[in-house]
Symmetry: C2
Subunit: 377 residues, 2 copies
């Protein structure tokens, strides 16, 4: 962290909510917030080139330290210039630790206070992850934002398991900070399921370590929507205003708008890229399944109000043809469109915040999403 | 065919061979020859966008009238602006008839003097193709170059079968010409296997119809290489110098150079796109299999002398990682590189022809291909 310029600045804020327009400063360039990070788990966004991502306005990508440590291996990435150069991206990169993979891939072999042991989904080999090892991997990858190893509990979990998750996440965070050289920005993570008291304790323990940014984890793991929103909202309030706040793994366009109004700055989600590959496209009026027969002779663009290169050139009829034919170009064009939607959504929120019209802008967007021709979310 | 400007002009020729630098004029723009057509069978080049294709210098794409008639159907394409607009390409398009599919997909139900009946590979339905129907489909698609229905015999075939193929191809060509409105350029096709006398008769019958261009078909179907070259070479000589010559379905980079020196102008081949998807990359020094472990930590580009956007930005190590990880981006980047190679190869041949240094240029290219670090062809 350089002394002269803070890692994060708040440039504008909406007085009627906790939404803010900010900027992260990394060694590889600035990231305007609220920001959406396209997901590049294994070092590539599925269906988009780095050039596509830049043109669409992406400034920060999310990759996975654990996945990259398995393949191609940390030393290979290091020798090839570090993760950002390796990917041909050259901009800022954030890596998740793999802590969530322990949870979601269900390949956990052992978890104790020292760390976790996972069976590799690639070759069945036994992999150990400790807080120190994760930071070491991320520093060797040379990333700009490091997410530490955390202990994410499923929903629902017994109170005892959630307490363990909070305590362990905090201890691991201390060990992560001790292992951290100061290169890149290490974020703290808050756990605690949907139990307010545990979330509060977890936030206090994280914030006490005075880190460059904070993330709320352990949500979007199956809890009811209202508990998700309640927990996220209270969670943002417990984090310092002058540090960036990252809500991990969210969400739909509506989620992003609500989470920005709660004061979150950073988001990542597989929805735009994964949905693209099965033909679900985001529009200002909700989602479309482009495989639907009603689009077969539709000459219009996916979204008449979308400025993306796909909407400029291709008809719904053609995109439907590509999807039902299983053409690779279907995944490419759908991915570019969906990322354009997500990146355009956060760009619109940033502009609205700058211009002091966040409430009107978000009301209009939400109203259009709810009332459009697409299927409702 | 407009009266003022010929469909094809020869701009320069190599005095030591039959190679020539030419230009096709279509309603959708010029095509500089020798030209390589990327293959877009079902209305999309696998792994490349129209924007990629333009940037790489493609001027003419090849699609398949029969495939498009099955899916999405001719009327859908017509309603969506015709094939070129449908694809978001807007440049010239050539369609093959589907005659070769009868041969290669082996789904022939019946073939007689009237036409062929094929069982659809998509839904098992029975499809009839006649010369008139193919021209009608191609005109409805609004393509720039129409290939007529021909009767392609396998290798080896009995003399009787080859004679039938020649006679039928010629009769079908007459019927195709009669059905043709004059919109787009209808090419004649020469058949005859590897029997010189039959090739000669087939060429005479085709040329007698005075069509805008001529194609040599029925090669690259399993015949020995030397018979391929012999037949192709004699075949070019039997076609009028003032019309474009298209060698269907060829070939390797070495093939293209030899075929250009024989006087061929147009080429199509699935090699660059299909090979891209299995990790085989073309370079000035031969082919590489990017999946090879020796590339895991290789920081260099695929081909240090390649000016393509992939070689400018990505290492062999990264491309190997994408290929072994099965990332979609692997197909995208490999396709862009391989098409850049093929399109760059014909662009280099055109420049050499313009500058009167075709023999030296092709000697150098062939020597480098034979002696390089890649596996030999």
């Amino acid at each position: 962290m350089s002394g002269a310029r803070p890692f994060f600045e708040v440039l504008a804020a909406d007085p009627s909510s906790r939404a803010r327009r900010g900027r992260l400063h990394t060694a590889r360039g600035a990231v305007d917030t609220p920001a959406f990070m396209p997901v590049a788990t294994g070092g590539a966004v599925k269906g988009a080139t780095p050039e596509d991502l830049r043109r669409l306005g992406a400034q920060l990508l999310l990759a996975n330290a654990y996945h990259l440590s398995l393949r191609p291996g940390i030393e290979a990435v290091h020798e090839l210039g570090g993760l950002s150069r390796f990917m041909g991206w050259d901009g800022p990169v954030l890596t998740d630790s793999g802590g969530f993979q322990v949870f979601s891939l269900a390949q956990l072999v052992e978890r104790n206070d020292d760390g976790v042991r996972i069976r590799s989904h690639l070759d069945g080999s036994l992999q150990s992850l400790t807080p120190e090892r994760v930071v070491e991997i991320e520093q060797r990858l040379g990333v700009d934002v490091l997410m530490p190893l955390d202990d994410c509990a499923p929903y629902p979990s017994e109170p005892g398991r959630l307490e363990e998750s909070v305590t362990r996440t905090a201890r691991w965070l201390e060990r992560s900070r001790a292992a951290w050289s100061g290169q890149g920005a290490l974020f703290g993570i808050v756990q605690g399921g949907v139990v307010a008291a545990l979330r509060e304790r977890s936030a206090e323990l994280s914030v006490a370590l005075d880190l460059p940014g904070y993330a709320v984890g352990g949500l979007s793991v199956g809890e009811p929507r209202e508990l998700f929103y309640e927990t996220a909202s209270a969670g943002a309030d417990r984090l310092p205003r002058e540090r960036p706040r990252y809500l991990m793994g969210a969400g739909t366009p509506q989620d992003l708008i609500r989470l920005v109004s709660m004061g979150y700055d950073l988001f990542d989600c597989v929805l735009p890229t994964r949905n693209a590959r099965n033909g679900t496209l985001f529009t200002s009026r909700g989602r479309l399944n482009i495989r639907n027969a009603r689009f077969a002779r539709d000459p219009g663009p996916v979204d008449p109000r979308c400025p993306c290169p796909v909407c400029a050139r291709f008809s719904r009829g053609y995109l439907r043809h590509l999807a039902v034919s299983g053409e690779i170009l279907s995944a490419i064009l759908n991915t570019v469109h969906n990322l354009a939607y997500y990146l355009g959504l956060v760009a619109g929120l940033r502009r609205a915040l700058e211009q002091g019209r966040f409430p009107e802008y978000t009301s209009r967007i939400l109203c259009e999403l709810a009332g459009g021709e697409g299927e409702r979310e």
